[in-house]
């Protein structure tokens, strides 16, 4: 395949999946710049190393899996996982601040930030990126029944966090 063809094919894949991958990374990392960096890394990796893309896995699943792994590495490296759950003080003050918090982006950001990374990841894949159970299972390398169960637990915990932060 010639260079222009290769670049054209890459552009088609990029244009199709960029919004989904960007939303996933943005919400996983809660920081715009880090999210953008991960999107860049993922697509460059896809472009440069076709060997790591075995062809049996759909491109979409490959991209989401790659993005998720990179986000989890960043979260681990930044120690964000350690901060998860340490939200007692913020929750206490959140109700009073809730009246002023009109921005839904901030609301959802706060809720997601307080979820464990694996719950956050599965919720984003389902609610933001509309991946099917099968696609999520392949992305997370697990079974469809495990996806169902984990989604339920993630929704339950997200609901609890939302009610704690902002009331019913």
């Amino acid at each position: 395949m010639s260079d222009p063809e290769k670049i054209g094919e890459f552009e088609a894949v990029y244009n199709k999946h960029k919004a989904g991958i960007y939303n996933f990374c943005r919400r996983m990392l809660s920081a715009g710049d880090e999210g953008k960096d991960v999107v860049r890394e993922v697509f460059l990796k896809f472009f440069q190393s076709p060997a790591s893309f075995d062809g049996e896995m759909p491109v979409k699943v490959w991209l989401y899996r790659s993005a998720r792994n990179r986000c989890l590495n960043i979260i681990r490296d930044n120690g964000k996982l350690a901060r998860e759950g340490e939200n007692g003080d913020e929750i206490a003050g959140a109700n009073s601040a809730a009246d002023n918090l009109h921005d839904e982006t901030q609301i959802i950001g706060r809720v997601l930030k307080r979820l464990p990374a694996d719950y956050r990841g599965i919720l984003i894949l389902r609610e933001w990126d509309d991946l099917s159970y099968e696609e999520i299972a392949r992305t997370l390398d697990t079974t469809i029944s495990a996806v169902k169960s984990k989604l339920f637990k993630a929704r339950k915990q997200a609901g609890e966090v939302y009610r704690k932060l902002f009331g019913d």
């Binding site: 960007y22 953008k36 999107v39 460059l44 609610e127 609901g159």
Partner: protein
């Protein structure tokens, strides 16, 4: 039916929009259970927030990424990689092998023919007969 069972059903219903296997049981439980009602309400709320939270990728990301891709695509001519299907490469290898055997055989034949021609064209051999020589030893050695 406990709440976890009902909530798992509700979660699956939200995802696939399928009807419940036990719709009456689930709905009657939902009607009377505040915990499950709260779960369902928050799950729907989360979904509506997620739908409104979706954004498009920033244009500067497109520019920088596509520029980077084109830059990385400029390959070193010394590291050019041959991109041919495997069967073409295999066929070429077999062809080269057969060609080398044929060439070797033809060359061998040619050498043989040249050697034969050289033998045939050579002048006939002449046999030189001569008398055997007799060695005459000194008297002292002759006794031994």
């Amino acid at each position: 039916m406990n709440c976890d069972y009902i909530q798992e059903k509700l979660s699956a219903f939200l995802d696939r929009g399928e009807s419940f296997e036990d719709a009456d049981g689930v709905l009657s439980h939902l009607y009377g259970c505040n915990e499950c009602k709260a779960f369902f309400t928050s799950a729907i709320k989360l979904r509506s927030l997620a739908v409104r939270d979706k954004v498009t990728a920033p244009p500067e990301l497109d520019d920088s990424l596509l520029r980077e891709v084109k830059k990385r695509r400029k390959v070193n001519p010394l590291s050019y990689r041959l991109r041919l299907p495997v069967y073409v490469i295999s066929a070429a290898a077999v062809f080269l092998l057969v060609l080398s055997f044929t060439f070797g055989y033809l060359m061998q034949e040619r050498v043989h023919q040249r050697e034969l021609k050289a033998v045939l064209q050579a002048p006939p051999a002449r046999v030189v007969y001569s008398m055997p020589t007799q060695v005459v030893y000194p008297a002292a050695l002759r006794q031994q």
